[in-house]
Amino acid sequence: MGLRIIKAGIADSIQDMGRYGYQQLGIPPGGVMDRIAATIANTLVGNHLKEPVLEMHFPSATILFETSMMIALTGADFGAEINGKEVLINQPILVPANSELRFTKKKMGSKVYLSVEDGFETDKWLGSSSTSFQIQKGGIEGRYLVKNDVLYFKNKEDLEIDLLTHLPWRASMSEFYDNNRINFMPGVEYPLLEKISQSSMVTNDFKVSNQSNRMGYRLEGQALLLSIKKECLSSAVSFGSIQLLPNAQMIVLMADHQTTGGYPRIGQVATSSLPKLAQVSAGETIRFELITHEVAETMYIQQQQNLQQLQNACNFRLQEYFKNE
């Protein structure tokens, strides 16, 4: 009762909304990189929003559904096909048993999320199923998925799906990822940046380097300079912290960030912009836009309200659809 990895992808893992409560021991929260896409993946199949999902990069795994299942794909568009037929992201899909899902082409974004109705059976550690690669805990044995791994479904019912079917509604996400503007707030060491560097930060594009991963995105571009050299003793950092490295380039800390750091904290990406940043691939560029703390709070609250409305609408549609069956 599950799906089988018949060909491994480069970095596919089980993630949820993160492992909180242990950062005082140096344990990073981890979790999905794109929280909006993961939330929508769960929303589309009627799951609890914190249900673990499969996060995949390109080239992604090839997956065999050994049993039928309702699934959703969200986030990146990697040209998904099931049994050779194109399938769409952001839409619930009914998948018959013995179907093969493969990803053919990187069209947009860098992380695709796969949810299944009721979720996967996963290893939990300290209250979360997020895969911690360093500690080798959570997800599936604390590691990336490999060939012949089987992810068991919690849902053991036979759904009796004969035909591959898209359910007739979709979450519209196109406008969310359609530009490269990343909102940020000044960090505590922002005032120490040279005035010219403060303006460089928002008037130049910065390239996401190929030394970027789930821990952090290293940016390449105009060198940024501090007017005063400052040695900091380590203190807490978080998902989205923008630090200035000794080579005058920035790093943005991502989901698997370390808990504390000592580099100057020149900014912090707004939480509402993190999903967009998570979908940027190495080699692509971003442009920073400075916003106030109040605006960042408002944008996040608005975004969460939109997700809540989407969830209500999806649950209603799901109920109606299966009532009429």
């Binding site: 005082q24 021991l25 140096g26 929260p29």
Partner: protein, 241 residues
Amino acid sequence: MLPATPYQIYAIGDQGITLDYGGEMNETLNKKIYQLYSLLKKWQPEAILDIIPAYHSISLIYDLLKVKKLAGTITAYQFLEIKLRETEAQLIGDITVMMNRTINIPVCYDLSLAPDLDELAKIHHLSNEEIIEIHIQQTYRVYMIGFMPGFAYMGSVDNRIASPRKSNPRLQVPAGSVGIAGSQTGIYPFNSPGGWQIIGQTPHMLFDANKENLTLLEPGDNVRFHKISLEEFHHLKNKID
């Protein structure tokens, strides 16, 4: 009654807030931080996801929507700023004595496990033996755990052997490596890239995901190092593995 210590409160984006006394490695400030930590722990509502103490700062990582519900008409940040100020005000004159454990950690300073020992000796015009002597003389305080699971930041290292980080960090530092960075000393719990000057290795595990106490060291612990031979190191390591 102790005089009030000035501090700064600032945001870590829209879902984090820090109270920071600033300054250097300082035991009194660090004790204040851990008192704040225990007070905030007692209060911690579900909306606060993490409380992260550091050398002279403490940070809250929070769920904005949930804090906003507690905050009412003010912003989530303003609400937490008030809470932090109120909690800090309770500290004045209330420096309670914590019981500190003393943990003894065996370290092998053999050159095969201490790739930077020779260079440090050269920089400081000391012999390798003198560096080791100075390192084990001191009792260190664990100021904080951070960077990676179970990594204890300890201080203060004697000025005679305090050393800057390596300009070219190593791509792989073995787990158990004991290092110096500035006046800090620390032990790598995992194989990892790292820039600290490595002067030895302990066979002990600093982090064990399968134990109830995940970390060997806790903030406030006193730590003493003692020197062991390469034979003892391998013997202990085999026993632990």
